[in-house]
Amino acid sequence: MQPNRLKQGGRIDRSRPLDFFFNGRQYRGYAGDTLASALLANDVSIVGRSFKLHRPRGIVGCGAEEPNAILQIGSGATTLPNQRATQVELYDGLEARTNKGWPNVNYDIAAVNDSLGRLFSAGFYYKTFMYPRMLWESYEKLIRRSAGMGRSPRLPDPDHYDHRNAYCDVLVAGAGPSGLMAALTAAHSGARVLIADEQSEFGGQLLSSAESIDGKSAQSWLQDTLYQLSQFENVIMLPRSTVFGYFDHNFLAIAQRCTDHLGGNLTGQIRERQWRVRAKQVVLAQGAIERPLVFCNNDRPGVMLASAVSSYVNRYAVCPGKRTVVFTNNDSAYQTAIDLHQAGSEVVAIVDSRIDGAGGLGEAVRNLGIAVFQNHVVTDVSGRRRVSGVLVAKWDGDRCAQINHTISMDCDLLAISGGWSPAVHLHSQSGGKNVWNEDLQCFVAGESVQNCISTGAGNGYWSLRSCLQSGHDNGRDAAVLSGFETVDLSLPSVDDLHSNALQPLWRVPASKDPDRCPKQFLDYQNDTSVADVRLAVREGYQNVEHVKRYTALGFGTDQGKLGNINGMAALAECLDRPIPEVGTTTFRPAYTPVTFGVCAGDHVGDLYDPERKTAMHEWHLSKDAPFENVGQWLRPWYFPRGDEALEAAVARECLATRRSAGIMDASTLGKIIVQGPDSVTFLERIYTHDVANMKIGRCAYGIMLGEDGMMKDDGVMARLDENQFYLTTTTGGAAQVLAWLEIWLQTEWPELDVHLTSVTDHFSTIAVAGPNSRRVLQNAGCSIDLERQSFPFMSVQMAELAGVTVQIFRVSFSGELAFEVNVDSGYALYIWKKLMEAGKEYDITPYGTETMHVLRAEKGFVILGQDTDGSVSPHDLGMHWMMSKTRDHLGKRSLSRPDGKRGDRKQLVGLLSTDNTTVLTEGAQLIENPDAPPPVPLLGHVTSSYASACLGHPIALALVAGGRKRKGETLFAAASDGSMVPVKIVSPVFYDPKGERQHA
C-alpha cells in the first residue's frame, strides 16, 4: 500500500516494485522513485530532527536544496552518511535511517530543546560553558555527541573511483530546457559539447512539467531532443553528473555517480568518476531554486516548496497531501495548484500575498474552481508533527505590521513559493560577482570573468519559452566564441501564461514582533530563525559574513541553497538597508558535496604514489629484504639470513664487507651527464671545488650549496672527457638537483654552451666494496687492469665485464677498497648475478642501506638530510678544504655574513657514549647539564648513531655548537624518553682515519 501514490501518470515504472527500509520498517516504491518520493508515497512525514532544537522535520524540496531529509543509507563498509533523500534513487533493498531522535525520530526526548529554544539562541555557546575552566572538556564531549549528522563508515571503502580528463568547446552545466537547447544548438554548429546534469535523467524541469511544447507534452519533446543529441558524435551526455567546481582558466570538475543507483551491495566497481574538464566556453544552465516563505512555524512537516509538490505529483505520481493550501507571492505556485487538482487532490485555497494575484494562470485556477485569497498571507501553521491547518490573514503589504489571523484552514500540506533564486553558484565560483535584480527580486549572474554565460532560469528567465530561447541563443553564441559557425535552430512553440510579477515578501508579519512570535525559520537545518539574525545584529555582528558565522545561517549541508537569500533579506530588514547593500556571499566549491574518494580518484592504496624500483628489485625481493622508502624509491634495507633481526644482519653485513667483500645496489643515486664546451665554467659556478684542474678520467667529491650558503647536495663528479662530466646526486635530491642546474643554466647563464641529461634510470649502479672487491671484479671477467697503479682511487674507466660494456668508478663510500659499476639497466640484473657468482669464494655479502649508513658513519662521511638540515654550511662539516679560495660559486657570499662566522655554529663531531656500550638515540639533544631546569640550552643533536660491529662499540655523529673545539668534553644525550647518556666528543672519523684502505 502506498497511500499517497497516484493511480496513473508519472515517470515511475509500476511494473518494477522495489522494497526498501526506513528506520527498519519495510516500504515499497517503484523504479524511477527517489527515496524521498517513495517515502512521501508511503505518507512518511517525519524524516529528521533539526540540529539544535530537535524539531520534527519533513521533506521540503525535491533536489539539492533539501535541508531536512538527510539520511544514512546502507550499512557496513558501504554506508553513506548525510544523503539527501531527494537525490537518492530508489533500489531494491535500500536501507535508510534518520540521524537524530531518541528513542526514535517520531518521539525524540531532546525535543525539549525546542521549548528552551530561546536559551539556544545564536552564539549561545560563546557565552557559556566557560566556568569552571576544567569542565569545558566535559561540556565539549556533550556538545560533540549531540552535534554531527550521519555516521562515517568504519571500514575501508571497497569501491573504486577514477578520473577522466576531457576537453570541449562548450560545456553545458544542467540539462533542463535551456541547457538542452544550448547543447543542441552548439552541437549543430560542430562544437565539441559536453552536457552534464545532476539528476538521473536529463530534462530538469521538463520531467515534471505539465506544459506542452510544439503541441506535444514536454516529456515527449524531451525524448525527441535527447534522441537528437545522442546522434551527435561531438556530444558527450553525462547524467547523474554534478558540475561541482568551477576553477581558474575554465577548468571545471564534474562528479559522476556510476553505481549508487544500482544498489548498495554492488562493490568493487567504479563508483564515481570525476571529469576534469577544460572548456573553451561554459553555458551555466543550472536552473533556479525556489525560495520558501518565512512565517511562523514554517518548518512543520507538510510545508513544502510548491515546485517540489509539482514534481512529486507529475514526475513521481505521488501526492504528498490530501488537502493542500498553496501560499505564494508569485505565479509559479499556481501551476502547483493546477497539478494537484488534475491529479484529483483537493486544493483548499491559494493564498496569494499580491493584491492583483495572477493573470492567465489565475484565471485557469479559478476555472478549476480553486479559491484564491489575494492580498492574504499565511501567518502560522498548526500541527507539530504534521501540518494540520494554517492561519491566514489579510495583509496590506506593510512589512512592519503586526497582524492577526482572520481565517483558519484545515490542510495537511502547505505548498509555498517565495519566488526563485537562480543557481548562481558556479558563476560565483568562476570569480564572477552576483548582482541584485530589483525586478526579479533575486541575485543574477553579473559580468562573466571567465568564458562563461548563464542562461535560462539560471539567469532569471522563469518561463519555459524564455528558457528555450535563452538556451538557444547562449548555446549558439558559445559555439561561435569557440570558433564555430553561427547556427540558428527554429524554436519550439510554447504557450506562456506565466508572468514575472512577484511581490517582495521576505518575512510574513505575525501577531507578535519577530523576537516573540513563534520561530520563523530561515535555515531549517541549522535552526536559524529571523530572531537569531536580529539578535546577531543587536550584538554587533552586522556584516553578512558575521551574521552567517554567528548564526550558522547557510552552513548546513545544503549550504544555504534554500535559506541564504531569505536570511540576507532578514538582515537587510533589520539594518533597514536594501538587500544588495547587505552584500552577497561568495559561493565556493563544491556545489553539492562530493566524496573524498572521487576527488582522490585512483591515487589511493597501491597507486597512492609511484614505487620506483631498481633493475635488481626482484632479486632483493627473492632474498626477503625489507625495503626502506627513500623518496619514491624502494631500497633494500638489509638482507636477513633466516630470521635474523636488523642488528644481527647489519653486523654481519658490515663485517663481511670490511673483511672481504660486500655488494650493494646503489642505482637510486641521481646521475647527470654534463656536456658542452662550457661545462667547466658552468660546474665551477655550481660546485665549490676546482673543476678545471680535474684530469680526464679522474673523480672528485663535490658539494653544491644553496645561495644561502647551506649544504644543498653532494656526490661524485667524474671527468669523462674534456667537455663531458658525469655527476651523481643523492637519491632524494636527483630531480631537484637537475632542476637546480637547469634553472641556473637557462635563466642566469644561457650564454653557456652546456647540455644536461639525466641518466639516472639508464645506468644501474652496483657497488662492490671490501678488500676482496678487486678480486671479485677480476673473477667476473673484467677486461681492464684494476690494480692500484693503473686504476687509482678516485678515477673512472670503461671496461667489459662479463661481456657487457660498463663504466667502473673507483670510489668508496665505505672507506674500503671499492668499485662502483655503472651498467645499462637492461643488463644490470645479469651483471649483479655475475658478480654474486664471482664473489662466492669471497663470501660476497649483499648489504642494504642500513649497513651502508654504518660503514660511512664509521668513516665520518655525512649523509645530507640526515647529518645536515637546511642550516648546515660546509664549514660546519669541516669541509673548508673543498672550497675554492679564489673564485665565486653559488652560496659563497652567504658564508661571510655575520652568522656564517659565528664561533658557536654547530659543527660535525663524533660521539662516544662514555660507557662504550650504549647506542645513542638518533635525534637526541645534547646538553651540558643534565640537572638544568627548562628551557635547557640545547647544544646540538645526535644525527647518526650505530652499533659498530667492526669497532666493537657504538659510534655516533652529531652537530654540536662549537663542537670542533670541544673535543674531549663530556655532554649528555637527552632523548625523548627522558634518558640522559653521558657522551664524549671525539673526531667524526672512527675507522681508518688515514684513509689507507680505500687506496689499497
Binding site: 581558474d248 582558466h249 577548468f251 577544460r278 637547469e742 644561457p750 650564454e751 665565486d888
Partner: protein, 91 residues
C-alpha cells in the same frame, strides 16, 4: 588548474609545470662587492605584488625549459608567456 602556455610546446595543464618565483632577479656579478644588506636584498627580498607579476615557470613534464609568464596574482589571469632572453657571451 591553470592552463599555461609553454612557448615551445603550447598550452598545457598546470600540473605539467613547476613554479620558479619572481622573474628578473639577476645574480650579482660580483657578490663579494656587495654589503650584507645588498646581498640579503638579492637573496630574500621580493616584490610579491598584488596584481601583475612576471614569474618563472618550468615545463617540468614537457620540454624542461624555463620561461617567463606574466600573470595577475589576484585574478590569476595569464596575459602572456615569453621565452627568456637568449644568452650573450659578452666580452
Amino acid at each position: 588548474m591553470f592552463l599555461i602556455k609553454c612557448p615551445f610546446c603550447g598550452e598545457r595543464a598546470e600540473t605539467e609545470f613547476s613554479y620558479g618565483g619572481e622573474a628578473g632577479i639577476n645574480r650579482p656579478l660580483d657578490p663579494d662587492a656587495l654589503s650584507d644588506v645588498e646581498w640579503a636584498d638579492y637573496l630574500f627580498m621580493r616584490k610579491n605584488p598584488r596584481g601583475a607579476h612576471k614569474e618563472l615557470w618550468n615545463h617540468a613534464q614537457g620540454c624542461r625549459r624555463w620561461f617567463g609568464v606574466e600573470r595577475d596574482t589576484v585574478s590569476y589571469r595569464i596575459s602572456r608567456s615569453f621565452e627568456l632572453p637568449a644568452g650573450d657571451k659578452g666580452p
